[in-house]
């Protein structure tokens, strides 16, 4: 998908191309003008909120929007699970660009369906709680040390994976050799949804 987005961004008059999911999380971007870097996330968020609001009507969310400003255009295409954005010159040849967008749109849409989103801090908190639940279920009253490892892990997917490895190792060595592998596998399956 990135190659296609880069191709679009390299076109004359196009300054930025980016894709966000339906919750407004920026998934990927291709920029020919770095000045937009800091604003893309905020922009995704605002427009995804508008999209969600409009989806409450039977007519559905945004499918195609063009904003025309004194010194530029912003084009948006709704792609089921997400939105494709282009920031470009006001004067560029829109018909040619639209043909290229249509070529890219199908590819972006299929990739969007497969993209696993980056976990938010709320997601990470839920993951931690679910891992603790697995430890309690499988180790019962002996889960205390494993719970402490999970609670003490940092707020990132990598930290949770490390905590999972460590919990499995401790369990195998000191708590329940038989169930250690199963417990680790169940915890890793939770994290896999975000990989």
């Amino acid at each position: 998908m990135n190659d296609s987005l880069n191709e679009l961004a390299e076109r004359s008059g196009v300054h930025a191309v980016f894709v966000c999911d339906q919750d407004g999380r920026l998934l990927t971007s291709a920029l020919s003008e770095e000045r937009y870097q800091g604003t893309l996330e905020q922009l995704s968020n605002i427009i995804a909120r508008t999209n969600t609001a409009l989806k409450t009507f039977k007519h559905g969310g945004l499918t195609e929007v063009e904003w025309v400003f004194a010194s530029g255009r912003v084009l948006i295409r709704g792609l089921g699970n997400g939105l494709l954005f282009l920031i470009c010159d006001r004067t560029l040849n829109l018909q040619l660009l639209t043909m290229k967008i249509e070529e890219v749109q199908g590819e972006v849409q299929s990739v969007l369906g497969a993209i696993k989103r980056k976990p938010t801090s709320e997601d990470l908190a839920r993951l931690k709680q679910a891992m603790i639940g697995i430890a309690q279920e499988m180790l019962g009253e002996h889960a205390e040390k494993v719970i402490a490892i999970i609670k003490g892990s940092g707020d990132s997917l990598t930290s949770l994976e490390q905590a999972c490895d460590q919990a499995e190792k401790i369990t195998r060595l000191f708590i329940d050799r038989k169930n250690a592998g199963d417990m680790g596998a169940r915890m890793r399956a939770l994290l896999e949804a975000y990989r």
């Binding site: 427009i47 409009l54 009507f57 499918t63 063009e66 904003w67 400003f69 004194a70 912003v74």
Partner: protein, 142 residues
């Protein structure tokens, strides 16, 4: 004007054609409604709605779901203003939203302290509307 009027009759229920009602507020077009009539006279314009910046309907000549067109007009208009500020685009001029219903597209722009949404049929390009609006003879205000 005569052609436009016959199209008008086909599109709207005569009982509620000049009423707007959102959130319990209802107004007849009156003097402000006259400002939408000038848009209705443009070729290819099938409907028009004028809402406050908060989405309250001021006037409407809309076939169908008034609340949807009001929300669409206000949300696309106000989001455009935020985007303009964020990207430093020097002023919002207009937006075009393609829709999945039988209206081909909706053109939205700011007029004084309100947003106007024009429901366009497929055969009219928004650039033609802009050209007509910029023509001094068309009588656009704001």
């Amino acid at each position: 004007m005569a052609d436009n009027q016959s199209g008008w009759d086909a599109l709207f229920n005569p009982d509620d054609e000049l009423e707007s009602e959102v959130g319990g507020r209802s107004r007849s077009p009156g003097a402000a409604g006259a400002s939408l009539e000038k848009y209705m006279q443009l070729p290819g314009v099938r409907g028009a709605i004028q809402v406050t910046l908060d989405g309250v309907v001021l006037n409407q000549f809309v076939p169908g779901d008034v609340q949807y067109y009001a929300s669409l007009t206000a949300s696309i208009g106000s989001t455009a203003r935020q985007v303009d500020g964020m990207l430093e685009m020097d002023g919002f001029e207009y937006a075009v939203v393609r829709t999945s219903d039988d209206i081909h597209s909706i053109m939205i722009f700011l007029e004084k302290d309100s947003f106007v949404g024009l429901l366009l049929s497929g055969e009219i390009a928004p650039t033609h509307i802009i050209a007509r609006l910029r023509d001094p003879g068309s009588g656009r205000s704001g």
